[in-house]
Symmetry: C2
Subunit: 131 residues, 2 copies
C-alpha cells in the first residue's frame, strides 16, 4: 500500500461499478467542477502515490495520467470519498495552461441542458433560443 493513503483500500466499494469508482475533479482554487473520470484500484493507488490524477480509460482499457502529454496535469490537493465509499472527490490544481477539457476549455461541463428562462445568472454557457 502506498504511504500517502491513510485509508484501507478494502473499504472502497469497487464492486458497484465493476471495479471502478467515479472521480469528480474540482478546482481547489474556486470550486469549479472540471471533469469526471473513473478509477480502478490501480489508478487510485497511482493517483495517491504520485499526487497527480490518473484515470482508468474505459474506452482504451488502460491507465492514463490526465495531462501527461499536454502538460495540464491535475495535482491532487485533497482527496475524499463519500458515505458509501463508492465515489471520489479530488480537489486539484491544474498545471500548464490550466485547460482540462480536450476542447480547450477549463471545465468539460460547458453545455447547458436547461432553457435560459429556467437557468440562473450563473449559467454562462451559450444558449439557443429554441429547438
Amino acid at each position: 500500500m502506498n504511504t500517502k493513503c491513510d485509508f484501507d483500500f478494502e473499504a472502497f466499494d469497487f464492486q458497484k461499478m465493476n471495479g471502478l469508482l467515479p472521480a469528480v475533479v474540482q478546482a481547489s482554487s474556486d470550486g469549479e467542477v472540471l471533469m469526471v473520470g473513473f478509477m480502478n484500484r490501480e489508478a487510485l493507488q497511482q493517483t495517491l502515490e504520485r499526487g497527480y490524477v490518473t484515470f482508468f480509460s474505459r474506452t482504451r482499457n488502460q491507465l492514463w495520467m490526465k495531462g501527461e502529454s499536454s502538460g495540464n496535469r491535475l495535482r491532487v490537493v485533497t482527496a475524499h470519498t463519500d458515505c458509501d465509499r463508492d465515489t471520489l472527490l479530488l480537489r486539484v490544481e491544474v498545471e500548464g495552461a490550466g485547460l482540462v477539457c480536450h476542447r480547450g476549455t477549463r471545465s468539460c461541463f460547458t453545455e447547458s441542458v436547461l432553457r435560459p428562462e429556467t437557468a440562473s445568472p450563473r449559467n454562462d454557457a451559450p444558449e439557443k433560443e429554441s429547438r
Copy 2:
C-alpha cells in the same frame, strides 16, 4: 419532451453506463460538491421537468426524488453536461435543513483518503495519525 430542456435527449450518451449518467450535485451558493448520483433517461426528464433532482437508485431499481421525505430536496439552479455528454453537473439549492447526506452532514464527501501531511489546509475532515 419536457419544455424546460433545451437539449436533444438523443444526444446524451446513456450507452456507456448501461442507461445511466453519473450526476454531480454541487451547491450553487459556494460550490461545495454534495453528492454523486445516477440518472436514467426518466430520472433526468423528471429532474428537468420538476426542477428537483431525481435519481435512479441502482440498489432499489427505481426513481427517487432526493429529499422527498426528509425535506432536503435539491432545487436545480443550473444543469450542464460535459464534452462527452455522458455526465451531468447540477448546481442546486438545498431546501429544508440543507443536509444532503443521510449521515446528517451537508456533503457526502467527508472522509479524507490522504494522510494529513500531504493534504492542504482546506482538508478539514478528521484524520487518524496512522493505520
